[in-house]
Symmetry: C2
Subunit: 465 residues, 2 copies
């Protein structure tokens, strides 16, 4: 419990209505969208409306050495927002203004609580697009997605969040607000602090304003599905399309387990007898789109796949609905869904898909795999039951093997979900203890009291005792 | 002078032929491509061939507290490689192997001493391109350009160096080698160390291996010149082209002073009676290129410009040769050339161009301006004489005003040349003392003895006394 004086100070900064201490209200902040994580409620929830208020809250926390857990919509998938050590949850949901849309410079400036989709709705009338599109974009906030450096379906062609963040205002652990970057396309003024804070998972500072780059919305698109009797054909098609110099906006995969589950759940007409389906969308100006679509069709046919082109928006929407159903459908099959985020170089996709199947067989587990095939970012999803201790032991072993395999294929622990609480123990596998020490030094330099999202990504403070 | 034991240790690590101590040989390392900087020779030049050797050299330097100045081709324009405090210059020129070209994953892995153009010549047969193209690409190294986060002519459409670096191996101040990132398009494993070291100007570590992303080379292009009787028409055209959703590969500007000088110098047929010329190139697949070229022509005509389309490669080459002549031609006009790098949001280009003209008039200086108009990255170039103290005082005042104006228009101190020695005193203008303190903390965390390129970008060690 926090000292009553601290609560009074917070109320004087924010107004009583923005300082929540009722246990039943705090419970919803003890977890996030990540399964299988420890739960812990904060001592207090604060909802500032301005950078000045975030600054004042952080100064109070620093004075009393209280942990601060920044939180957007809590949709992250690495346990990133769980307030493990109590203290404050700082919700950015009331800092939800779009400050500026600047169509001349293709730029928008937003507060962290703006929902990604709301930004896209606001820029659409200008013919513009903010490309990063994590699965949770209808609820996830800009602040959360910048802090996590979210990926999404369009990553292959359009890149991820870091490619669109041009400037940030950040409140440091001391409570001081600083600004880096801005509205220029080119900026090499000193260290790349914009990208250090992007993806820092709330452990180095609290993001209070974001300047992002927009792009002209592509005027045309063609959406296709490609059905394969074996994983190898799907894998070869993915490689072949890129080799033929076509970079689709999205190229998604679902394996048989995922298709069966989606079909049982939602009856969208997926071919449950097939081993894999690719959903491919090319976009751009009409002439390019037609050309690229025909290259895709040739490559798929050559690799034994059966292509269907969505004839209209309705058919397109049905295909993407099936893809979006993947996680919810899998999640309903068994009580616990362990969603992973292993990512490999594109050319290793087939190997990785086969390895995941084999690991599932070896540990007798149901693993459905779907994900962003074009950029090698797979989401093997283990369907299990957290109450079954014996099975959970097998799950942990399987997860370990999945990551070991990804790294041995030249891949990474996390393509887009971040490290958070869920993966910090795996960090040395990828970057070595030398690499982890570099992270720690940066954490200690910018947050010497270990107050910002402690217990996540890198050890600090009491972790190290 | 370094202790003879240190020299012996270095020779035992590298072999005598890779440890140079003769004064006359060291002189060439006392300056770089930047004008108007103090000169200082190193005590020794070392040329390692491997990461292991870099590691061993750095360990020796750390043990004896000797400054280490990493250096590629020395083409930087911010005094970034000058060994201000003596010690070691570590040249990467002998680490010049292309380790791997991986056309399936659109990736190349190189040692830091590889020349940018050599990489492009090596990937061209695969139909691939490494887009960053600083003016010095024929001699500049990959290591230097990653350390400086170089821009170039194609920045508008294709981004800058940071957008292409996927993985790095870096030798830290302790001598330990660490690796971050890799071959996956998506990677959010922990803090973005790849982008922290990219653009760190040799002050945080020595880059020993680089993994970069390649793109399919665009199959077609159209090159155009557009001549304007006033700067406003040129400025409006730049804005109008982007507003019409055309993002040219390059969109360069030269003002009257620059054109006159180039024409006097090289007789390439530039219209010296005009106020500004834009050189615009659109690229992509043929259908797109034709469409975009006609939009460019419409916009230019509407803004009072006169367009010519290069009929063939010869005409194209002549246009770009004129642009490449800008700096050498200006540099011949007077003894000293002060090349600046002020960058503003695209919509402020006209304002900035007019402001530079006005500053030139006010201080009675010749300023030629050219640069990457499409991304707001201008190179106002003051032609002066370093021996004329009175004039140099006016130059310094003019430079101060140019940066003040750029920042007041929402711009930045450096679009692509970095901070180095030349601009460190301006840093607080852009990021405040709070921002500078963040940089210092990171510098101290990773280089506590202040051994890596000391005296550049952020103060450390004896600067602070």
């Amino acid at each position: 419990m926090l000292d009553a004086r601290v609560i009074r100070t917070l109320k004087s900064i924010l107004g009583s209505e923005n300082v929540v201490t009722a246990k039943e209200d705090l419970l919803c902040y003890s977890f996030d969208a990540t399964a299988g994580m420890p739960e812990h409620a904060p001592d207090v929830l604060v909802t500032p409306h301005s950078t000045e208020q975030v600054s004042a809250v952080m100064k109070t926390a620093a004075r009393h050495r209280i942990p601060v857990y920044p939180r957007g919509a809590g949709t992250n998938l690495s346990g990133g927002t769980i307030p493990l050590r109590g203290g404050l949850v700082l919700s950015t949901l009331k800092m939800n203004k779009i400050i500026e849309i600047d169509p001349e410079n293709l730029i928008a400036v937003v507060q962290p609580g703006v929902v990604i989709q709301h930004l896209n709705e606001a820029v659409a009338p200008y013919g513009l697009l903010y490309p990063p599109d994590p699965g949770s974009m209808a609820t996830a906030t800009m602040g959360g997605s910048v802090a996590e450096c979210s990926g999404g379906l369009r990553g292959l062609k359009y890149g991820v969040t870091r490619d669109y963040v041009m400037g940030l205002e950040v409140v440091l652990a001391s409570g001081e607000a600083v600004r880096f970057g801005g509205k220029t396309v080119k900026n090499v003024t000193a260290y790349d602090m914009v990208r250090l804070f992007t993806g820092s998972e709330g452990t180095l500072g609290i993001i209070t304003e974001i300047t992002v780059r927009l792009i002209p919305a592509p005027p045309a698109r063609v959406t296709m599905s490609a059905i394969f009797k074996d994983l190898t054909g799907a894998g070869r098609s993915i490689e072949g399309i890129i080799k033929n110099k076509v970079i689709p906006a999205t190229m998604e995969i679902m394996d048989r387990v995922t298709m069966e589950t989606v079909e049982n759940h939602a009856r969208v007409g997926l071919p449950i007898q097939a081993e894999a389906i690719l959903l491919i969308e090319v976009d751009g100006i009409p002439e390019v789109v037609q050309k690229e679509a025909s290259i895709v069709q040739e490559v798929v046919a050559k690799n034994g796949g059966e292509v269907r082109v969505a004839a209209n928006d309705q058919e397109r929407d049905r295909l993407w609905a099936a893809r979006r159903e993947a996680l919810p459908a899998l999640a309903q099959k068994r009580p616990t869904t362990i969603l992973e985020d292993a990512t490999v170089p594109r050319s290793k996709i087939t190997e990785m898909l086969l390895a995941i199947q084999e690991i599932g067989r070896r540990y007798n587990l149901i693993i459905g795999t779907f994900g962003h095939a074009g950029d090698g970012n797979l989401h093997p999803t283990i369907l299990t039951d957290a109450r079954d201790r014996e099975e959970m032991e097998r799950v942990h072993k399987a997860v370990d093997e999945i990551f070991k395999t990804a790294i041995s294929l030249g891949g990474t622990l996390s393509g887009e979900h971040g490290i958070g609480l869920a993966k910090s123990r795996y960090l040395p596998w990828e970057i070595g203890t030398g690499g982890v020490n570099v992270l720690k030094k940066i954490k200690e330099a910018l947050d010497p009291q270990c107050l910002l999202n402690p217990g996540k990504m890198v050890a600090c403070g009491e972790d190290q005792k």
